[in-house]
Subunit: 312 residues, 2 copies
């Protein structure tokens, strides 16, 4: 199968590597020239569950995507704010039969994607795989994970199931979901609490969880997400989601980690995805007439902090 | 006049110094032993508008206030969270005729004071004087200022006016106000925006003001203060208050300064007065059925940050 990975950061590299090893014809597409050069010269290197491996895989800069070559599947793995630019850049690769799978963090990306791809070819999903980049061309891939995905187009369930099979054939452990929006909102609740709060408070998840106000802040934010989700007929099990979110506080599992937004903004002075997490809830809340003051305020605080740190 | 200054930090030192120079019999009362020792040994030293001066003034530890000595006036100048303990400690100094003037930052201190002093002897005020401490026993006192004050007891206007005259006789530029709650709420709006936001974002006031979300955050917070104030028949002129708050952003005047809460928490790892500023609005909001989500969230964030930094 001819697969393009649009956005070959840490997670895109994992999917590209596994799909290539699974026998697919894979093209990585990215905007980071140093990373592209390293992979062109030396292949994609990875510490893969402790083993050092190298995989030869094609990569191009998104400004130089080939014309006249069309793909069966494009997997979107950009940062949220880079999605629209990427879709413009990969337009020449999209044929009538091309399926597009969106695995970005955050909410509401389909609004952007459907400007470029007909609804019946759009699939959205949610992944529990993790990945890191140690430097240009070098990934760190530990542990196992899974993917859930669903068709957005009416009657495309069979295509979604086939797509899951394709991914699973390369070890990606993908399943069809009949309620992907539930999973996406549930995961967004984790990002919508841990990311913004740990970034603004400059603390890891266990450190946040150890403070007295943490639980009340999580409860209020999850309730705002749930109120918005309910307007889209996604009815979150709020106590279960809160319990799920608060497993992040556990210092013996992942609590000692800083969420990705903290790494982006505080460590690397990069712009964050807040507009696609809490900011998306604020926008949807306005649209549906649901008040979301904690999401509004957290989005404003993170944007202020971006400006204060001169994030780019 | 026999005057006790309960809380002889920077502002208490200024008032004590000026009232002593004005010919009053002044006793400073504080809990910081190093400061007390320095003033006992060397007098209260100050850089007073550029001139180095020393004033001999009595000081005692609040745990050792004299018994059998009663005062005409006690001026309260503690941090908000130290107020109740101070009032307990100075109880022996309160006679039937003793007037108590509260000049603390924040809102709602009268609820604490009236446990110790009958309403007709309580006066509350608001000061525009500034002051700093350079070290134990050494104040830095620049610029000019003013005081507004009002009686809380019904029919005590004449006493309030006399009290203002007493302060003014020592150069403190005090005036009777017939609407002190307006001034207190207006000032609390400055503290309720600049203090919490600059502390959580670790930025000075000009830096906050330069960010795009700053104005909207100020507007929302001031509106929460105004909604609560309205329930106490204090009707803030919201656009005027917002404009007043935002003069703090000006880098050519005070914008380059960090507000006191930032100094307390971020610089010195001390507990903050947030419960008496935004936290007071949250509590009053609950009481009056007014939602105050930005004040709630900001109070929670500051308390979390206190715990994260191990503030004491």
């Amino acid at each position: 199968m001819k697969i393009a990975i649009a956005g070959a950061g840490a997670m895109g590299s994992r999917f590209g590597l596994m799909l290539k090893q699974g026998g697919n014809d894979v093209l990585l597409i990215d905007g980071w020239q140093e990373h592209i050069n390293a992979i062109k010269e030396n292949g994609l290197k990875a510490n893969y569950n402790g083993e050092e491996i190298t995989v030869k895989v094609s990569i191009v800069n998104q400004n130089e995507v080939p014309t006249g070559e069309q793909f069966d599947l494009i997997i979107l793995f950009t940062k949220a704010m880079q999605l629209e630019k990427m879709l413009q850049d990969v337009k020449p690769l999209i044929a009538d039969h091309t399926e597009v799978l969106c695995l970005l963090n955050g909410i509401g990306h389909e609004d952007v994607i459907e400007k470029f791809v007909p609804m019946e070819k759009i699939f959205i999903g949610n992944t529990m795989w993790t990945a890191g980049l140690e430097g240009p061309g070098k990934a760190k891939l530990f542990g196992s994970g899974s993917v859930e995905l669903q068709n957005l187009g009416i009657g495309q369930e069979e295509s979604a199931k086939k797509l899951a099979e394709t991914l699973s054939a390369s070890g990606l452990n993908a399943k069809y979901s009949d309620n992907i929006h539930y999973s996406i909102y549930r995961k967004a609740c984790v990002n919508g609490t841990m990311n913004g709060l740990c970034t603004i408070l400059d603390v890891n998840m266990a450190g946040l969880g150890a403070t007295k106000p943490a639980h009340d802040m999580v409860v209020t934010i999850v309730n705002e997400f749930a109120a918005v989700a309910a307007k889209e007929n996604v009815n979150l099990d709020i106590p279960e989601v809160i319990e799920h979110v608060e497993t992040c506080f556990d210092p013996t599992t992942i609590g000692m980690h800083f969420p990705s937004m903290h790494q982006d903004l505080i460590k690397n002075n990069r712009l964050t995805e807040i507009d696609y997490i809490n900011g998306a809830i604020s926008r949807k809340g306005k649209k549906y007439g649901v008040v979301t003051p904690y999401c509004d305020f957290l989005t404003q605080l993170v944007h202020s902090k971006e400006e204060i740190l001169g994030a780019k």
